[in-house]
C-alpha cells in the first residue's frame, strides 16, 4: 500500500515555505535541513508548541536530532518538497538539497500557484529514483484516484481509496479493472461491516517499520494528505451518501475534477519502466518535453522553448503516440540526469563549500513542568458519616478481591478494567463514591440543572471543590477541553456562590486516563495558575481507586487539607508499593 506521511495538510503554508526557502537559499550550491529550519523559524513559518521564530527553535531543540522538533519539521518539508519535485538531493548526501527547475518556477509563481501544484501532484509516481522508500505498487496515485472516481459514479469513500488507488498497479489495465470491480462488489453488499473487514485484512497484511501488521487507524491516517490535496486542487468535494447501509461522507468529483480526469485519459502516461527502455536521445527528449509540458499546463509561457518542444515531440512521436505527455522528470529521475537533458549548468560542488553548512541549532532549556506526587502516607480511616449504599457496595467489592488474595495494585487494575466501558450514568456516581471513601462530602450534580455547571461538588463549609468528570464513554484521556471546563467551573462558583469556596482551593478534573499530551495539559494548568491564580488538579480513575483502596485496606490516605490545594496532573504514589 502506498503511504503518505502526514506532513501537515495546509498547502498554502507549504507554498509560502517554499517561496521563503527559495528567497533565502537559492544562491547556495546546496543546503540542508538545518538551513531550512533556520529560514523557517526566522520567517515565522514554522511553529513549535504554538511559537514561531527563536522561541520555536528554543522549544523544539534537542541535542538528539531525531527528537529535535525544529529539525524534524524542516526534514518533513524537505521530504514533501522532494516528492513534489521542488527539491532534489545533490552530492549523493541524503540531506544536501538544491532547488529543481520546477522548484524555481514554483518559487516564481504568483500568489496563486495552484496550477503548478496540480501538475506536481499529478507528477507523483511510484516507483521512482528519488525517494528512499519504494512501495511495491506501480501507480501514479492522484491520476489513479481521479480515473477511479470516473468509473465509480464520480464518488469515492476514504476506505475505498485505501483498498483501491493506494493498493493497485494502475499501469496494468487488468489490475485497474479488477480494483474497480472489487470496489463495485463491495458497494453491492451495502454493508459497512464488509468494507471494514476488507480494510482490517489489508491493514494486517502491511509491514510498518519492520513490524508485521498496521492498525486500521494508522492506515486511515495515511489518507489525510491525499484528501487535503484533492480538495485543495478543487477536484473533489464532500458529499454525504448512503452506499454502505448508512450515511457516510464520500468525496465527489467536482466539474473541474471531472474535466481533469477526462483530460488525463487523453494523455500518454510514461513511467520509469517505460523511460528505462528508451535510447539516450529519446530519454533526453522525453525529459525536456515532460518538463516543459508541465510548465505549459501550469500557466507558464513556453514560446521560448516551443521549437525545442516540437522537435522533441517529433523525435518521440512513436512513444507518445502523438499525445500530450504526462511525465514529471524531477519526480521520477535523479537531479543530474534531468538537468543534463535540460542543459542546465550547475556550479560544481567543491570541498570548500562544505563550510556553507550552518552551525547546529542551539539547544535551549526545555519548559519545566512540575510533578505533583501525592504520597499516601497519612493515617486515616473511612468516615462513616459519608457512607452511602454505593460506598458500601464498593467496599464490599474491594473486600472480596482482598479475600481472593489480590494486592492493592492488582485490585486497582481490576477495577480500572471493570469500568472501561462506563458512560456518564455509571462513571459520575463512581467518582462520587470514591471521593466519599477518600473522606470528603462529594455529591454529583442533578441531571438537567443548567446552573450547576460542574458534574460533582465536594461540599465544604469554606473550601468547596467543583469537579469536572469525563467518563470513558465521553473521552478516554482527559483533554484540554476538560481543563477549560474546570476553569469555568471555578469562575462560576466564585461568581454565583452556590457553595462557599475561595480562590486558593482547587478545581478538579477526573477522567478515565491521564491526558495524552501531558506536557501541554500540565503547562496549560500552570498558565491558568499564573494568569488567574486558580489551581486545577487532574486525576485519572486509577489514582482515585488507589487512594480509596488504600484507605479501605491499609487505612492510609491523603491529608484532606492537602487535597484542597492540589494542582497539576496528580500522580498518586502508594508508599507501600
Amino acid at each position: 500500500m502506498i503511504r503518505f506521511r502526514n506532513p501537515g495538510s495546509d498547502l498554502d503554508t507549504m507554498i509560502a515555505v517554499l517561496k521563503q526557502l527559495y528567497h533565502e537559499l537559492h544562491e547556495k550550491d546546496f543546503f540542508d535541513n538545518t538551513d531550512i529550519a533556520k529560514v523557517l523559524s526566522k520567517a515565522n513559518l514554522m511553529a513549535s508548541s504554538g511559537f514561531t521564530g527563536d522561541k520555536a527553535v528554543a522549544l523544539g531543540a534537542n541535542t538528539n536530532k531525531s527528537r529535535d522538533k525544529t529539525y524534524n519539521n524542516a526534514k518533513m518539508y524537505a521530504e514533501i518538497f522532494r516528492i513534489l519535485g521542488f527539491l532534489s538531493i545533490v552530492n549523493d548526501a541524503a540531506s544536501n538539497y538544491r532547488f529543481t527547475f520546477i522548484g524555481e518556477h514554483m518559487a516564481a509563481a504568483g500568489v496563486d500557484a495552484k496550477l503548478l501544484i496540480e501538475q506536481c501532484v499529478l507528477g507523483m509516481n511510484n516507483p521512482n529514483r528519488i525517494m528512499d522508500v519504494s512501495y511495491k505498487e506501480s501507480v501514479r496515485f492522484f491520476s489513479c484516484v481521479l480515473l477511479t472516481m470516473l468509473e465509480l459514479d464520480d464518488m469515492l469513500y476514504r476506505d475505498e481509496m485505501i483498498l483501491g488507488p493506494m493498493s493497485v498497479n494502475d499501469n496494468s489495465e487488468e489490475d485497474f479493472t479488477n480494483m474497480i470491480d472489487f470496489i463495485k462488489s463491495l458497494r453491492k453488499t451495502k454493508s459497512e461491516r464488509k468494507l471494514s473487514t476488507e480494510l482490517e485484512k489489508l491493514a494486517k497484511s502491511q509491514t510498518d517499520n519492520k513490524k508485521e501488521g498496521m492498525t486500521v487507524n494508522s492506515v486511515q491516517n495515511c489518507t489525510r494528505f491525499p484528501i487535503s490535496v484533492l480538495k485543495y486542487c478543487g477536484w473533489v468535494e464532500n458529499i454525504r451518501c448512503n452506499i454502505y447501509g448508512k450515511s457516510m461522507v464520500f468525496m465527489k468529483l467536482t466539474p473541474y475534477g471531472k474535466e481533469t480526469a477526462n483530460k488525463l485519459k487523453t494523455y500518454k502516461d510514461i513511467r520509469l519502466e517505460d523511460y528505462e527502455k528508451l535510447s539516450k536521445s529519446h530519454r533526453e527528449a522525453l525529459i525536456r518535453l515532460g518538463t516543459y509540458s508541465m510548465l505549459g499546463r501550469a500557466g507558464f509561457e513556453t514560446n521560448v522553448v516551443q521549437a525545442e518542444m516540437d522537435k522533441d515531440a517529433k523525435e518521440i512521436e512513436s512513444i507518445t503516440e502523438g499525445k500530450e505527455v504526462l511525465f514529471s522528470p524531477y519526480q521520477t529521475l535523479d537531479f543530474i540526469t534531468v538537468n543534463d537533458a535540460l542543459n542546465l549548468q550547475l556550479t560544481p560542488y567543491t570541498a570548500s563549500q562544505k563550510n556553507q553548512q550552518s552551525a547546529v541549532l542551539k539547544t535551549y532549556a526545555k519548559r519545566i513542568i512540575k510533578k505533583n506526587v501525592v504520597e499516601l502516607d497519612y493515617n486515616t480511616a473511612i468516615n462513616q458519616n459519608l457512607m452511602t449504599e454505593d460506598t458500601d457496595n464498593f467496599i464490599r467489592n474491594v473486600m472480596q478481591l482482598i479475600q481472593r488474595e489480590k494486592s492493592t495494585e492488582q485490585i486497582v487494575k481490576i477495577l480500572v478494567e471493570e469500568h472501561r466501558g462506563d458512560n456518564k450514568g455509571e462513571f459520575y456516581p463512581l467518582v462520587e463514591t470514591l471521593f466519599r471513601i477518600i473522606g470528603v462530602d462529594c455529591r454529583k450534580s442533578r441531571d438537567g440543572v443548567n446552573a450547576e455547571r460542574w458534574d460533582a461538588m465536594i461540599r465544604d463549609a469554606h473550601k468547596s471543590i467543583p469537579i469536572e468528570i469525563k467518563s470513558p464513554g465521553e473521552e478516554e484521556n482527559v483533554s484540554i477541553k476538560a481543563i477549560r471546563q474546570a476553569l469555568e467551573n471555578k469562575i462560576v462558583l466564585l461568581s454565583r456562590k452556590t457553595y462557599i469556596t475561595d480562590c486558593q482551593t482547587s478545581s478538579f478534573v477526573v477522567g478515565y486516563k491521564a491526558p495524552n499530551d501531558r506536557a501541554e495539559v500540565a503547562e496549560l494548568i500552570q498558565n491558568i495558575k499564573e494568569t488567574y491564580g486558580y489551581k486545577i488538579a487532574v486525576f485519572d480513575i486509577a489514582s482515585l481507586f488507589l487512594m480509596a483502596v488504600n484507605i479501605i485496606v491499609n487505612k492510609k490516605g491523603i491529608n484532606i487539607e492537602k487535597l484542597y490545594g492540589l494542582e497539576g496532573i496528580v500522580n498518586v504514589k502508594d508508599i507501600d508499593c
Partner: protein, 345 residues
C-alpha cells in the same frame, strides 16, 4: 540555473482612469459611479495587476503585538475563492459566490456590485475617462499609483441593502465553508473594517485560538463560533488569555477578547450568565459580535476599531441599538432573525 519561463499573463489589457483626483465613489442600483474632478464616470473593473478584491494586503494580516505566533498565510479575500483573473476583467464564479460583498468593499473604484445575491463585475465598455493600457511594468505602476490614491476616498450609498432573506442566504453559505475558511471570512471582514487581524495557522495544535486583532485602540483575541456551542467560546477565550499571558507575555489586562458568532446564543443558554461571571470574577469583558453585524457595517462603509460597546451579557443580549448608533439608521432586519442582532428565545 537559468532560463526560467515567465508565467503566462492572463490579462491582455489593464485600465486606468485619466484623473488622479477622485473625490468619491457612489454605490447605487444602476451601477456604481466614480466622482472625479466634479464629473461622474461609471465605475468599471481596471483588471488590476494587484487586485484588492482577490487578495488582502499582507500587512493587514499581521499584528505586531503577536509577532511570534504563527499566522495563516492564506491571503485570499474571497472565502469561497469565487474570484479569478480574466483577460479584460476579474471573473466571478457565481456558483461559488456567497454574495457577502467583501470584494465589492475591497475594490477601490467600486467596480463590483452585489445583485440578487451574487457579485457582479462592471466590465469596461468604452467608458469615458478610462484609458486602456497594455500589460507593461510602466502601466502597472501607473495603475497602482491611481489605486493607492483611491483607497481612502469617500464611499457613498450602500453595497447591499440588508433584509432577512439576504442574511439567511449568506448564513446558508457560511455553513458550507469549512472552519478555516470561516475564520478567513471573519478575518477579512475585520480587516476591511480597518483592523489588523491574524488567523492562527491551520494544524497548530498548541495555539488553540482562532485569531487576534490589533488596531489603534488596542488588541485582543478572536474566537469564531458558527455552531451552537457558544459556551465553548467563553472557555476557549479563558484558555487563550492564559496561554498568551504566560507564554507570550501578553498581559490579561490589555487583552480585549472578541467572540464572533454566526448567531447570538439563545437566551436559555448559560453563555450570557457565564460571560457575566467571567467579568465579575476576572474583570475580563468578552465582547460578542455576529458575522451579520460585521456585514452590516461592511455594507455601510463603517470603520470599526472600538469594540467596547459590544460587551453584552445576561442583562442585555442585544447589539441592535449599538449597531444602529454606529450605522446611523434603523436596521431592516426583523427582531430575532437568525440571532443576528439579538438572541432568540
Amino acid at each position: 540555473m537559468s532560463k526560467i519561463l515567465t508565467a503566462k499573463e492572463v490579462r491582455t489589457e489593464i485600465y486606468v482612469y485619466d484623473t488622479l483626483q477622485v473625490d468619491a465613489v457612489r454605490f447605487n442600483d444602476n451601477g456604481n459611479i466614480l466622482i472625479a474632478d466634479g464629473e461622474e464616470a461609471a465605475s468599471c473593473c481596471l483588471n488590476c495587476a494587484n487586485p484588492r478584491c482577490m487578495f488582502i494586503n499582507e500587512e493587514a494580516s499581521q499584528c505586531t503585538k503577536f509577532h511570534d505566533i504563527a499566522g495563516s498565510v492564506d491571503l485570499h479575500m474571497c472565502p469561497s475563492r469565487a474570484i479569478s483573473v480574466g483577460e479584460r476583467s476579474i471573473e466571478i464564479d457565481k456558483s461559488k459566490c456567497m454574495g457577502c460583498g467583501l470584494c465589492a468593499r475591497a475594490c477601490p473604484v467600486a467596480a463590483i456590485s452585489v445583485v440578487n445575491g451574487k457579485a457582479e463585475v462592471h466590465k469596461y465598455s468604452n467608458e469615458k475617462c478610462i484609458r486602456k493600457l497594455p500589460v507593461t511594468e510602466k502601466a502597472i505602476e501607473e495603475q497602482e499609483r491611481f489605486l493607492i490614491e483611491c483607497e481612502h476616498i469617500k464611499k457613498q450609498g450602500m453595497i447591499l441593502q440588508e433584509s432577512d432573506a439576504v442574511m439567511k442566504n449568506i448564513h446558508k453559505y457560511v455553513h458550507f465553508l469549512n472552519q478555516d475558511k470561516q475564520n478567513i471570512f471573519v478575518r477579512n471582514l475585520f480587516i476591511l473594517l480597518g483592523n489588523h487581524v491574524t488567523i492562527a495557522r491551520k494544524g497548530n495544535v498548541y495555539m488553540r485560538l482562532d485569531g487576534f486583532y490589533q488596531n489603534e485602540n488596542g488588541y485582543g483575541i478572536l474566537e469564531v463560533e458558527t455552531g451552537s456551542d457558544a459556551l465553548d467560546v467563553a472557555r476557549a477565550i479563558l484558555d487563550d488569555i492564559a496561554v498568551l499571558n504566560s507564554r507570550h507575555g501578553i498581559s490579561m489586562k490589555d487583552n480585549d477578547p472578541l467572540a464572533v458568532c454566526l448567531y447570538l446564543p439563545n437566551k436559555r443558554t448559560d453563555y450570557w450568565q457565564v460571560v457575566k461571571d467571567i467579568k465579575e470574577v476576572t474583570g475580563i469583558k468578552i465582547r460578542t459580535l455576529t458575522i451579520g453585524a460585521l456585514l452590516l457595517m461592511l455594507w455601510n462603509h463603517v470603520e470599526l476599531q472600538d469594540f467596547g460597546n459590544f460587551y453584552i451579557d445576561v442583562e442585555n443580549t442585544s447589539i441592535r441599538k449599538e449597531l444602529e448608533r454606529i450605522i446611523g439608521r434603523k436596521i431592516q432586519i426583523s427582531i430575532g432573525t437568525d440571532g443576528i442582532l439579538e438572541s432568540q428565545k
